[in-house]
Structure formats: C-alpha cells, structure tokens
Amino acid sequence: MVTATAQPVERENYLNKHYGVGSWLLTTDHKRIALLYLASITFFFFIGGFFALLIRLELLTPAGDLVQADTYNKLFTMHGMVMVFFFLIPSIPAVLGNFLVPMMIGAKDLAFPRINLLSWYLYVIGGVMMLHCMLTGGVDTGWTFYAPFSTAYTNTKIVEAGLAIFVAGFSSILTGLNFVVTIHRMRAPGMTWSRLPLFIWAHYATSIIQILGTPVVAITIVLVAAERTLHLGIFDPKLGGDPLLFQHLFWFYSHPAVYIMILPSMGVVSEVIACFSRKRIFGYSFVALSSIAIAVFGFLVWAHHMFVAGISVYAALIFSLLSYSVAVPSAVKVFNWTATLYKGSIHYEAPMLYAFGFLGLFTIGGLTGLFLAALGINVHVTDTYFVVAHFHYIMVGGALMGYLGGMHFWWPKISGKLYPEGWARLAALIVFIGFNLTFFPQFILGYLGMPRRYYDYSHMPEFQVLNVLSTAGATILGVGYLLPMIYFLWSMRYGKPAPDNPWNAAGLEWQTASPPTTFNFEQEPVVTWEAYNYEEIDSVEKPEVHVVG
C-alpha cells in the first residue's frame, strides 16, 4: 500500500487499453460499462431536471400561465418516470456498483460480463423508447399509472411508456442478478462475508429488491397495457375489476424501489464516513444486517401508500404497524454513522461533506416518514406536498447526496484524475442549501393542504410565498448539480493525475492502479485483514493525505 505518485508515462489501464467506438459499445469490462451507464444516466438526469425546472417555474405564480394544464401534467409525469426509472434506480448500482463491486471483493469482473452489457443495452432501448414517447406526445398519468385513469381515460401514450419501463426493468433485474451471483461466487480468497465492505452489503440488499420486486411491476405494466388495448376489465370497475388491485401490485414494487435508491447510497456513506473519520464503522455487523433488514421489511409496508384509497381499516392497521419495522433499521444506521464520528480523526474533503449532507437530509426524510406511517396524520398529508417533500428528502436528499459523494470519492479511481477540491466543497454546500430551500417549504405547504400535482392554485393565493421559496431553492439546486458535471468534465482533461490511493483509504479498490487495469488487479488479491482497517493503515508512517486540487 504505497501511495504511488503519478508516473510520467501513462500506464496501461482500462481506459487506454483499447480505442474506438466499438471497443466501448462491445465491451464486457464492468468498468467501461459503468462509464456507459454514467453517460446515459447523466443525460436522463438533466432531462428530468429540466422538467423539474419547468414545473417549479410554473408554480412560481398561482395561475397556470407558463404552460398548458396538459403540458404541466405531462411534465411532472415525465419528471417522475425519467428520474425514477432512468436515473435514480440505475444511478448508484449501475455506475458505482458496476465499477466497484468486482473490485471491492477482488474479482476480475462481474460473474456475467455479457449479461452486464445486455443490461446496459436494455436500459438504452428502454430509454430511447421513453424519449420517443416523450417526443411524440408523452404521458399524463403521473409516474404511478393509476387505473382506471391510465387504462380507460387518458389518451396519451401509456402503452409505449409502459413498455419502456418494462424493458428498463429487465435491465435492473439483470444488474441485481449479476451482483448477487458475483458477491456469492467471485470473492477473492480471504474475503469472507464479515470482511465485505458495507457498500457490498448495501448492494446485495438492493439486488434482492431488484430481483424480487421488479418482475411484479413488470407484469402489472403488461396488465395495464392489455387492459388498455383489449378492455379486459381487470382494473376497470365498470367491468367488475378493482382499481385498487393495480395500486397493490404497483406499490409492491414501487415502495421497495425507494430502497433500491437509498440502500446503495447508504453503502457509499458508510465507505466515506469510515475513510474520512479514519475509523472502522461503529457496529459493522449491525450496519450490514440493517441493510438486509431494510430490504426484507421494505416488502411488508407497501399499502401505506393507500391508507385513504379505500382499503380495509384492518389492512391499514397492519401496514401502518409494519411500516415502523422499516424505520428501526434505518434509525440504527444513522446512529451507527454518528457513533463512528466519535473519537475519529475527521477530514472535511468534499465526499465527507456530501456524507454529512446525506446524514442531515436522510434524518429529516426518515423522520417525516414517521408522520406518514402514522395513520391519523397520513390521512391529512397524503397526496399533498408533504409527501412530495418527504420522498424528495429520501430520494434526492438521500440517494443523490450519496451518489454525488460517491462520485467524488471514487472519481480519482474512475478517471485517474483529481477533481478540484475547492469547487467540490462549494458545490456540496450549494446543493445542501438549495435542496433545503427547495423542499423544506413543501412540508409546510403540504400540512397547510396544498395537494400535489396541482397546476394552478389561483384560488389559494396563500400558498404562493412558500412556492416562491421553493422555486428559488430549485434554481440554486440546479446550479449545485451543474457544477460537479462541469468540473468532472474539466478534470478529465486538466485535472492532476490521481495517485492510486489519494484518500489513503481501506478497501481493495484502492490497492490497484488509478485508473485500474482491465482485469482490475495485477495478481489475484488475498485478503488477510478486516474491513476498514484504518488503524493498520494509519500506523504506517506516511505524509498527511491532502490532495486538494
């Protein structure tokens, strides 16, 4: 574990070993596929972000004056679909997970490299279908597709959007399958389960959800498409069907899907906090098992999205009770991360700032989940901006902070270049401030009663002040998201070459070159140490780690 200084002649690595478009489009190297994903999800992130910006601009004034009502409805629908299915769900797993899972366990690649490439192609096919759908009219049902509006009333392109999500869903399933097999079968000698980085545990848990949840929403989409084209009556009350069945099947996946987004982010945060506190994570096994617990309990709570939908009160009781079961492991994680800081040696590099941001936003997002799980309060705040704020705190505050933190943390490994640290810290700050300004007012809006998916609130001008704050925050947030993209791109060309282990971090991925060679390691690693062995690492005398660009 020597901090290699950058060498004058570029070493052979996964980026420069082959050249040409074909070497990328036909690659089976998990690292290159990760970069393919990075490019594609960034593209979709900015599309989704653009929709979000338009939504916020429309809500600046109470009247519906920027776009037509139909356009607005399509905007929030596309925003949701693009962000959920084409950005958040693949974000950390398909980019950072793809890049790091094999490396962290000392494998040369994922177990099924060709299936991995197939996943990316499925994602792209789904994405192109989604783009085509959006460009030729779009969908206006909200990302939730509720029947019978989606099956019998709207005249927008439900079938096409559904098919796009169906295809992208299989991409997600295959990624999860690949991870589980890889983690079971490809670990290097000595890499026991208790030595796995928590990032791996988190991805294992995520994969369980992808494998078992996604097919249910896939078949639900098939039923919606069939119902829409053939009028089967499965979800149509006029023909004897029950529209609530759609909601049950939809949320069976779509609630756990939130954990597909947040669990990998938690994995990232565990790595970052350990590294920048120079400590082993407090209560390693509890943090590891809480990931699995979240994945399993996550399947037991779906109908808390339906407390006012007309389900039986007894079912509501059961689901409310079970919803709290998922709160316990989430709380355990937060407490353990906090405890890890205790008596640490804390550095404030950008990834750590993102991790702090994650802790703050996830705590707020998680605790407001307690409000929503409480039946009496859920009735009032469900389908209002309170819910919108809550899930953005989890899915954007939590998942996206983790994603950005992870991108900064592993960027030197991925690109072989250092990003400008000052800018990165600034961006972290801007994102944190912008995020809170955007979404905190929405909690208040929601409790005051502003329903979500409202295009025009001219009869309720009292809501305007908070909406203006929110839109102002969104502008700041937009800047915060643009900055990293700019300086990451900049650093690819002008950044200082990264040493192999710029953070002096534990973990196998830091023991190979930056960027790594095609098969990750010069020779198969043998693991003889526990995870997060920062005590050993720091007891070796070496210059202070400071790589501020």
């Binding site: 890889t182 949840g213 078949i219 039923l223 089967l232 069907g241």
Partner: protein, 234 residues
Amino acid sequence: MSDSQTASVSSAAHNPALLHHFATEEQQRDSASLGMWIFLSTEVMFFGGLFCAYLIYRLKYFGDFAAASQTLDWKLGATNTAVLICSSLTVVLAVWAAQQAKRAVLLGSLVLTLILGFAFLGIKSIEYAEKFEKHHVPGPTFQFDQKVPGHPDQQASPGHAQIYFALYFVMTGLHALHMIIGIGIFVWLLVTAWKGRLTPEYNTPMEIGGLYWHFVDIVWIYLFPLLYLIDLHK
C-alpha cells in the same frame, strides 16, 4: 467475447469454455447455476403478480369463475400436464446423460423433450382455437352465456367471466411464451450436444437449461388445477 484475450489463469489453458474472469471451472459452473436459480426467482414473482390477481378475483367471483372454467376441456389440460411431466423426465435424463457421457441417451432425450414441448403447444393451440370459435376471447367480440355450476337458475356474469378469460389468456399465454423460449434453448442444446460440446466435464448449459424447463413445468402444475378444475364436481 474477450475471453480469447488472456489466458492468465493457468487452469484456463485446457478448457476453452472457461471464461477469463473465473478462476476455476467449478466457480464458473456454480455461478451459472446460481444465476439461473435467481432468474427463476424473478420468474416466480413475475407469475406471482398474476397469481395474486387471479386469487383475488377467484375468491370474489367464484361462481362466475367456475362457470367460465367449466367451458375449458379438463381432459386436454390433464393431457398437457402429463405431457409436461414426461418432458421433465426426459430433461432430467438428458442432464444425467450429459454427465455420464451417454451420447445416444442425451440426443434421444433432447429430441423427445422437443417433441413433447411441441405436443404441449399443439394441444394448447387447439384449446385457443376453440376459445376463438366460442367468442371466449376477451375484447369486443366476447360473449358468454353459461349458468353458474350448482345454480341452474343463475346466469353467470359475462363481465366476470371475461376477467377469468383475461387472466386465463395472460397466464397460459405467458406460460406458452416460456415454452417457446424453452424450445429455442433446447434446439440450441441439441445442436451443441450433436457437436459433442456437452461433456461430463462441461455440461453447464444442459444443467441450467434443464432448470429453466423444470420451472416452466412447475408453473403449469399450478395453472392446471387453478384454471381447469374449479368446482368440477358440480
């Protein structure tokens, strides 16, 4: 794809089927098998959503479901069940033969499996054709005029019967699609076996192809009583 690029691992030298990123053949085989099992978990949940919908409507509209179910020919359904069970036997024989290097048994079992697979689809298509003739296909032409079994004076609701047939077609259609994919896999296996590429040392494709086939069989084992045998005694 890139397996030809390196031969860094020593044991890779003698087996071209060993992909570069695996250390041993055993690791590769275990990975493939686990991968197939996990894929089957996905498949279970895929059908699971349908079973869930079926269960709910069957309990809600039991009489109408029974009436609709009894327009099906349970003899054809039972025959198809037997056909699939026989094909499962030939599949497991093929796996065994590949491991024991019994080429004739292997090829014979694969051919038999394919014949049984086609027989299943043939019988299924006869049933489907009958649905079209009787206007039992959900959609604008759907017609249903049956009494509820055990209630000679009660007309079954056509709307609810249509839900039954919708689920019938989605479930058996999806199952048939899996059969078609399975037949594709087995044709490929037959070619591979014919070329002598399935050996006692390397027969992973045969093994995981077999797992898939058995799974499709299991789905039918549930579909048969659920769809064909509702209140048959009435």
